[in-house]
């Protein structure tokens, strides 16, 4: 055994830990021959003796009685099935509420959900057929809002400018759009309202359509009538986003 091998044994020998008999004997023989390694073990033993002296000096150190009192109060409160928030209310000193693991768990769960959504979005993108550029253009809100687009008559109870569109007339999804899930059922939608005056949506490279919910009050922003009784109720809307993420146009859905 050389000094390097012995170094691994020094602490075990100093602590009198259980060792393989052969290894122990080899270590002891090495110690007899090597003064440096013997001194190393002696030093470890001295350190352990100091540590144990400190531990012995601390043997009587215990938390003050008030901790037990506070804990018993908490225990009684818990067994009395009171609200969890009152468990520590009687303690002194007031313990700080430290729940790092619950916060970390929440963060981990949130991260997990985000990852799952990302995976689903990537999967959706990889499985859905790519639309040709021309087709994307064809669904641009500007074109849909053009006067030449045929629109069926609005239902009597709908907002006056609403039109009924069949799925085939619905705007196609733009690339990268993962958040909109337009069902195949017929929806009542308004035309697209341009949010920036004078903007030509057809000139934009790509668009995204995102389904959102807004308070009904938002209808008035584009000049649609709003029932004061339902002005705070949510209404669905499709928002057209430009490449820069800014909203360019909106239509309301029912």
């Amino acid at each position: 055994m050389n000094c390097q091998d012995f170094e691994k044994l020094a602490l075990a020998l100093a602590r009198n830990s259980l060792l393989d008999t052969t290894t122990r004997e080899q270590g002891l023989i090495h110690m007899e021959d090597c003064g440096r390694c013997a001194a190393r073990v002696a030093e470890e033993r001295a350190l352990l003796a100091h540590v144990r002296a400190v531990a012995a000096g601390m043997a009587d150190e215990e938390p003050p009685a008030r901790v037990e009192t506070a804990l018993l109060t908490a225990f009684r409160a818990q067994t009395a099935a009171t609200a969890p928030s009152t468990i520590v209310s009687a303690s002194r000193p007031a313990p700080r509420r430290t729940s790092p693991w619950s916060n970390r768990r929440l963060a981990a769960v949130a991260a997990g959900i985000l990852i799952l959504i990302s995976i689903m979005a990537i999967f959706w993108r990889s499985t859905s057929p790519r639309k040709p550029q021309g087709e994307e253009r064809a669904v641009s809100p500007a074109q849909e809002a053009s006067p030449g687009t045929p629109k069926p008559a609005a239902p009597p109870d709908a907002v006056s400018r609403m039109a009924v569109e069949r799925p085939k007339n619905k705007p196609k999804r733009a690339r990268g759009q993962a958040t909109v899930n337009i069902s195949d059922e017929a929806e009542v939608v308004t035309r697209f309202f341009i949010l920036r005056e004078g903007e030509n949506l057809a000139a934009l490279d790509s668009l995204q359509l995102v389904r959102v919910e807004l308070p009904a009050l938002a209808l008035s922003e584009v000049g649609l009538p709003v029932d004061p009784e339902t002005m705070n109720e949510p209404v669905k809307a499709d928002v057209v986003l430009g490449q820069d993420g800014l909203a360019r146009a909106i239509r309301f859905v029912r």
Binding site: A46, V51, M58, E61, P63, V67, L71, Q78, R96
Partner: protein, 192 residues
């Protein structure tokens, strides 16, 4: 205890309170933190006691693990603050132990100084080494149990203990004579 037996809870607390308190005290060096950690650990046991699985390890290891987490959280929170004076509570008989001397005042003085230096050196260690030394050397916990408490393999405990000892020896060589074993605790005499 989980069934609401107060006596069981009291007995459990009294059996483990010293261990947890001293662990937190050695880890933080502050009585206030140790007190708070002790309270939090047992409050957590009250709230989430059902999470403890006896098949995974002893309750001591479980409680030490919880105490370790609490200590690290508290120390992280209090890192920006510097303690100017050591905390002593005159009403607490444990805290006035530093005023009590044994039969050999000079020897006591030297021993106390050596103990203080050892504690200071332990506190100066990085937390990952300190916690292993506190558990395995001060508390004389088995490596396997310490591994459970610290949620790491036994090999990690072994290597951290080696590294921690090396650092501790380096810090103490200049301050404490390590070629002689520390004297045993002796009877105490009050100078107050």
């Amino acid at each position: 205890m989980l069934a609401g037996d107060e006596q069981s809870f009291t007995a459990l607390y009294r059996r483990h309170k010293g261990l947890i308190y001293r662990f937190a005290l050695l880890m933080s060096g502050r009585a206030g933190v140790a007190e708070e950690v002790t309270q939090e650990v047992f409050l957590a046991l009250l709230r989430n006691g059902s999470r403890y699985d006896p098949a995974r390890g002893s309750l001591t290891a479980y409680l030490c693990g919880a105490a370790r987490n609490q200590v690290l959280v508290l120390m992280e929170k209090e890192r920006p603050y510097v303690q100017l004076v050591e905390e002593y509570d005159d009403d607490d008989p444990v805290s006035i132990a530093h005023l009590v001397s044994g039969d050999d005042p000079l020897g006591d003085c030297a021993r106390n100084e050596a103990n203080r230096l050892v504690r200071q050196a332990v506190l100066a260690l990085p937390a990952r080494y300190r916690e292993v030394i506190v558990l395995c050397d001060f508390q004389e916990m088995r490596y396997a149990e310490a591994a459970l408490a610290l949620d790491c393999p036994v090999g990690t405990i072994n290597s951290r203990l080696h590294r921690g000892h090396a650092l501790l020896l380096k810090k103490l060589r200049a301050a404490v004579r390590l070629d002689s074993a520390a004297p045993d605790a002796q009877g105490m005499r009050c100078f107050a």
